[in-house]
Amino acid sequence: MRGCLAVYQRELLILKKKFWRQTASMCVAPLLYLIAFGFGVGKDLQVDGRSYMEFLIPGLVAMSSMTQAFAIASEINIARFYWRIFEEFQAAPIRNIAYVTGEVLAGITRALFSVALILFIGLLSGVVLSYGLLFWLAVVLNSFLFASMAVCMAMLVRSHADQALLTNFFITPMAFLGGTFFPVDHMPLWAQKILNFLPLTHAAQSVRASSFGQTPELHSYVLLAALGLALFVLAFHCVNKAKD
C-alpha cells in the first residue's frame, strides 16, 4: 500500500511542479471545442430538447476524462524511456500491483481535475447541470478504464513515438465517434452497433444521462467497470513482462 502511495505521490508532485502548464494544456482542447462546436456550429441547435451547449458539456467531460486518464501513458513513457525512473520503481521492494495502482490513481486524479476544469468552464458559459453520484461514478469508471489502458500501452510500446501512434489510432477516433459531439442514436443502425463497442460511447451516455437528471443505463456502468478491471489485470501482467 505504501509503495502504491509513493508512486502516486511522485506523479502528483510532478503534476504540482507543472501545475499551470498542465492546467492551461487541459483547458485548450475543451475550450476550442466549446468555441467551435458550442458557440459556433451549435449556437441555435437543439438536441433532444436541450441546447447544444448542454449536450456538449457532458460529452466533453467524458472525452476529457478519457484523454487525461490516458495521458498518464505519456508520463510513464517519459519516466521509462527518457528519465529511466521506471528502473527505480522496479528496483524498489514494491509489488507490481502497487506500481500499477499508483499510476492508475494518478491517471484518475488527472482526469478528475480536468473534469472539474470543464465544469468550471461550463459554469462560466451558463451551463449548470446535475452532478450527482451517478455522474461522478461514470467519470471515475471511465478514468479507471483509460488509466489502466494507459499503463498497458505504456508497457507494451517500445518508444515514445509508438505511444503517439496509439493515441492517433485509438484515442482520437474514439474522442470524435464516442458520442461526445453528436447523439450516437442519430447514426445509421450499423454505425450505432459499431459505436456501441466503444467504451467512451457508454461513458458519454452515462455522464450525459446523469447530468440531465435521468437514470443512466446500468449495463453501461457494468461494462465500464468490467472492462476497466480486465485492463487493470492486463496492466499488471504488462508490467511483469516489461522487465526485459
Binding site: W83, E87, E88, Q90, A92
Partner: protein
C-alpha cells in the same frame, strides 16, 4: 553476502550470461570487469530485480532473488549506469520519494535524507532541481539515494562513466568511504585503474563467462611485476618480467622503440582474452 550459482540469461538468440558462479563476501569491495557487452550490466540487472534470469540462482544476504524478491531488494541499493533521477524534482524530493518507495517512516526518512546529503557533500543543493546539477553532482545524488535505506549491498554499475578524471577520483573516495563503513560493494567498470584502485577482488567477464577471479595483485603477479612494450609493425607486443632487472636485460637485447612499466590489470585481461577491456 552475494551468492550466484549457474546464472544464465538468454535474449532471443544472444546468450548474455553463460553460467556465472560467484561468491562476494560481506564488507568486500568487488569489481566486475569486462568490455562493453560482456554481461556486467545484465548480471547487476538480474541481481537487483530489473531482469529475470533464464536459469540459475542468486542470493542477496541469504534471500533468493526470485523466491524472496522483496526481501532481497531491501538488501541492496543500486546506482545504475544511466542517470535515472527525476529531473523536474529537487535533490530532496528525489531522496524522499526513494525513502517512500522503501517504506521508511517519515521521521527516519527526514533524518536519513539530511545524513545522506551531508555524506555525499551535496547538502547545499537540497532544493536544487536535478536538471540544474552537473554530471558529477547527479552521480553523488544517485549514490545518496541508493544508500538512503541503509542497504547491506551497494551495486554500482559503471559509476564514473562519462565523468572527468577529477570528479572520478572524488567518486572513488566516496566509494572507499562507503566500504569502510561496512557495506558490501559490487562494482562494474571497464576502467582498469578504477578496479585496481578500489577493489579487493576482481572478476574478469568476457562473453558472459567469468574468465579470471582473484585479488588484483595476485592476478598481476601471475604475469610478472614489469611489462616491456615494443611496437612491431604498428602492433604492440608486450613481454612480462618478474623483476626490473629482467625487464632491463630484455630491453638491451631488443632493437627499436621500447618502454618499460608496471604490470596492470589490463595486461591480465589481454593475456587471458587476447583483447582490451576498453570498449
Amino acid at each position: 553476502m552475494i551468492r550466484i550459482e549457474g546464472l544464465t540469461k538468454h535474449f532471443k538468440k544472444v546468450q548474455a550470461l553463460k553460467g556465472i558462479d560467484l561468491h562476494v563476501m560481506e564488507g568486500e569491495l568487488f569489481a566486475y570487469l569486462g568490455p562493453n557487452g560482456s554481461g556486467k550490466t545484465t548480471t547487476i540487472r538480474i541481481l537487483t530485480g530489473l531482469s529475470k534470469p533464464t536459469s540459475g540462482d542468486a542470493y542477496l544476504h541469504g534471500f533468493h532473488i526470485l523466491r524472496e524478491t522483496l526481501q532481497a531488494k531491501r538488501q541492496c541499493g543500486l546506482v545504475p549506469q544511466s542517470i535515472n533521477l527525476d529531473h523536474e524534482l529537487t535533490v530532496y524530493e528525489n531522496l524522499n520519494i526513494h525513502g517512500k518507495l522503501f517504506q521508511m517512516p517519515r521521521r527516519v526518512r527526514s533524518e536519513r535524507i539530511e545524513e545522506m546529503l551531508h555524506y555525499v557533500d551535496i547538502a547545499d543543493r537540497r532544493s536544487t532541481p536535478i536538471k540544474h546539477l552537473s554530471g558529477g553532482m547527479k552521480r553523488r545524488v544517485m549514490i545518496a539515494r541508493a544508500l538512503m535505506h541503509a542497504p547491506k549491498i551497494l551495486f554500482l554499475d559503471e559509476p564514473t562513466v562519462g565523468l572527468d578524471p577529477k570528479i572520478r577520483r572524488r567518486i572513488w573516495s566516496l566509494v572507499k568511504k562507503i566500504q569502510q563503513n561496512g557495506s558490501t560493494i559490487f562494482l562494474t567498470t571497464h576502467y582498469i585503474e578504477e578496479a585496481e584502485f578500489l577493489a579487493q577482488r576482481v572478476a574478469f567477464l568476457d562473453e558472459g563467462r567469468i574468465i579470471a577471479l582473484d585479488k588484483p595483485q595476485n592476478l598481476m603477479d601471475r604475469l610478472g611485476k614489469w611489462a616491456v612494450d615494443k611496437i612491431v609493425e604498428g602492433e604492440m607486443e608486450t613481454t612480462y618480467h618478474a623483476s626490473r632487472e629482467g625487464a632491463n636485460a630484455h630491453i638491451l637485447r631488443q632493437v627499436g622503440s621500447l618502454s618499460v612499466r608496471r604490470v596492470n590489470l589490463e595486461d591480465v585481461f589481454i593475456s587471458v582474452t587476447g583483447k582490451k577491456v576498453q570498449p
